[in-house]
C-alpha cells in the first residue's frame, strides 16, 4: 500500500479540533454534574426504606439502564417536544439525556458502595445518636466513596465516549467536527486517527489519576 499520509491536515485544522474538544468537554462536564447530583439522590432514595422514594427511582434507573443511549437522546430531542410543546436545543437535549443516563448508573454505584459498607458501621453511628444524614455524611459515605472511585472513573470514561452520540443531533463536538472536516478534506484516515488520539488524551489522565488515588488510599489504609 502506498498511501501517502498527510497529518499536516490535522495541524492545519487544529482550531476546529480545539473547538470540538471544548464542546465535548462542556457536554461531559454538565452531564457529570447532573449525573453526580441526581445519582447521589437517586442512589440514596433507592437504598432507603421508604417505598414512595424507592419505587419511582427504581423505575427511572432501570429504564435508563435498559434502553440505548442513542435512542434516549433522539427521543428527548425529537419526541419530548411533541408532548411538552417546547423544543430543546440540541446541546440541552444531549446534556439532559447523558446526565440522566449517567445518573442512573451513578445511582447504582452509590447504592452498591453504600451497601458494601459493613452494617455495623451504621449501627455504631446510630448508637452514638447520629441521624441518618449525619451517619451518611460522616461515617458511611467517606468510606463508600473510596470504593466508588474505580467504577466512577469507568463511568466517566464511558460518558466521554458517549458524547460522540451528540453528533447525531448536530452538536459541534469532536466527532461532528471531524466528520465535517473529512467531507471537506477527504482525509478520513488522518482525521479519525487524530480523533482517537484526542479522546485518548482526554480520557487517559482521568484513568491514571484514579489509579494513583487508589494506590494512595491503599497505602494510607
Amino acid at each position: 500500500m502506498d498511501y501517502s499520509w498527510k497529518f499536516s491536515v490535522v495541524w492545519d485544522y487544529r482550531d476546529v479540533f480545539f473547538q470540538g474538544a471544548v464542546v465535548t468537554g462542556q457536554l461531559a462536564f454538565y452531564s457529570i454534574a447532573i449525573g453526580l447530583s441526581l445519582g447521589l439522590l437517586f442512589g440514596m432514595a433507592r437504598a432507603s426504606s421508604i417505598v414512595v422514594l424507592r419505587w419511582p427511582t427504581a423505575v427511572f434507573i432501570e429504564f435508563f439502564r435498559s434502553t440505548p443511549t442513542l435512542v434516549q437522546l433522539v427521543w428527548i430531542y425529537y419526541a419530548l417536544p411533541i408532548i411538552t410543546g417546547r423544543q430543546l436545543g440540541a446541546m440541552e437535549a444531549v446534556i439532559i439525556g447523558l446526565g440522566f443516563h449517567t445518573a442512573a448508573y451513578v445511582a447504582e454505584i452509590f447504592r452498591g458502595g453504600i451497601n458494601s459498607i459493613d452494617k455495623g458501621q451504621g449501627d455504631a453511628a446510630k448508637a452514638l445518636g447520629m441521624s441518618y444524614l449525619q451517619s451518611m455524611k460522616r461515617i458511611i459515605l467517606p468510606q463508600a466513596v473510596r470504593r466508588m472511585v474505580p467504577p466512577f472513573m469507568n463511568e466517566f470514561a464511558n460518558l466521554m465516549k458517549l458524547t460522540t452520540l451528540a453528533s447525531v443531533l448536530a452538536v459541534y463536538e469532536l466527532m461532528h467536527e471531524s466528520q465535517n472536516l473529512i467531507s471537506h478534506t477527504f482525509r478520513p484516515l488522518e482525521i479519525y486517527t487524530a480523533l482517537a488520539v484526542g479522546f485518548f488524551l482526554l480520557i487517559f489522565p482521568i484513568i491514571y489519576a484514579s489509579q494513583r488515588l487508589e494506590k494512595y488510599w491503599r497505602v494510607r489504609g
Binding site: G120, A124, K126, L128, M130
Partner: protein, 272 residues
C-alpha cells in the same frame, strides 16, 4: 462490694418483649428491670436472643410487642391516633440512643478516623460540643482505658483488645446513663480478653449502670448484681450470681453452665 447506689429507681424496664425476624420468633415475652448503678449480666447459648434484646433496648431493632422504658420513657414508639402504637419521631429515638452507650462484639470502630477522632465523634457531632472540649473529654477517657499513647493511630493498626477499649471509650464519651455490652470479648484472642474485662470491671465499680451479654462466666460472677439466663427467647432463670452459678433451679441452666465451663477448661490448659 462497695458501689454507689441511687436507690431502687429503674433506668431500664422491659415488659413482655416480643421480637420477630419475619417468621422467626426471637424474643418471646422478655421482662426485666435494671436500676441505676446496677449490673445485669445476660448469659445463654448463642442464638438465645441476648444480642437482639440489647439491640431492642436502644432501638437498633424495632420490636413488635411489649414495652421498653428508658428512664420512664417509652422506647421507639408512641400512641398513634387510632390507639395503635406508631414509630416515635426520629429526634426522640436519637435522643434516647445518645443517652445509652453501646459496645459491639465486632467493635465497629470507624476505620477512616483515628482513635481520638472515633471517640470525639459523638460529643462533636451529636452533642455539638466545641472541638477543644470534645478533644479534652476524649483524651481523658482514652487515658482511662489505657490508650493515651494511641490517639493518632488508625483502628486497623491496633490489637483486638485495644480496639475494643477504644469502642468502650467511644461509647463513654457520650456520658451515657447506661452501657450496653454485646458480647464485648467474644471476637478477641484469649490473651486479650483480660484487658477489656478490667476496663469493664472498673466501670462497674464506679457505679456505671450496665447490661452485659457475655460468655465469660467468671467475669459474670464477679461483677453482676443480677444474672438473667436466656434460652430460645425466654428468660428461663433470673437471680443473684451466687444462686445462678452455684445452685441453678432450671435444669437447662445447669446444662448450659456445664457445657460452658467444660469449654472454658478446654480453652485454658492452665485451669485443667
Amino acid at each position: 462490694m462497695a458501689r454507689p447506689r441511687l436507690g431502687n429507681i429503674q433506668v431500664i424496664k422491659v415488659r413482655n418483649l416480643h421480637k420477630y425476624f419475619d417468621a422467626l420468633h426471637v424474643l418471646k415475652g422478655v421482662s426485666l428491670d435494671v436500676e441505676y448503678g446496677g449490673v445485669l449480666v445476660l448469659i445463654g447459648p448463642s442464638g438465645s436472643g441476648k444480642s437482639t434484646l440489647l439491640r431492642c433496648i436502644n432501638f437498633l431493632e424495632e420490636y413488635e410487642e411489649g414495652e421498653i422504658y428508658f428512664e420512664g420513657k417509652f422506647v421507639g414508639y408512641r400512641e398513634g391516633p387510632n390507639g395503635r402504637r406508631v414509630r416515635d419521631r426520629e429526634s426522640n429515638i436519637i435522643n434516647l440512643r445518645s443517652k445509652m452507650g453501646m459496645v459491639f462484639q465486632t467493635f465497629n470502630l470507624f476505620p477512616h478516623k483515628t482513635v481520638l477522632e472515633n471517640v470525639m465523634e459523638g460529643p462533636l457531632i451529636v452533642q455539638r460540643l466545641g472541638a477543644k472540649e470534645a478533644k479534652e473529654r476524649a483524651t481523658a477517657i482514652l487515658n482511662r482505658v489505657g490508650l493515651d499513647d494511641k490517639l493518632e493511630s488508625y483502628p486497623s493498626t491496633l490489637s483486638g483488645g485495644q480496639q475494643q477499649r477504644c469502642g468502650i471509650a467511644r461509647a463513654l464519651a457520650m456520658q451515657p446513663k447506661v452501657m450496653l455490652f454485646d458480647e464485648p470479648t467474644s471476637s478477641l484472642d484469649p490473651e486479650l480478653v483480660g484487658e477489656v474485662l478490667i476496663v469493664m470491671k472498673d466501670l462497674a465499680n464506679e457505679g456505671m449502670t450496665m447490661i452485659v451479654a457475655t460468655h465469660e462466666m467468671g467475669f459474670a460472677q464477679e461483677i453482676a448484681d443480677h444474672v438473667a439466663v436466656l434460652d430460645q427467647g425466654n428468660i428461663i432463670e433470673y437471680g443473684s450470681p451466687e444462686q445462678i452459678f452455684s445452685n441453678p433451679e432450671n435444669p437447662r441452666t445447669a446444662d448450659f453452665l456445664r457445657r460452658v465451663t467444660r469449654r472454658n477448661v478446654l480453652d485454658d490448659p492452665g485451669h485443667a
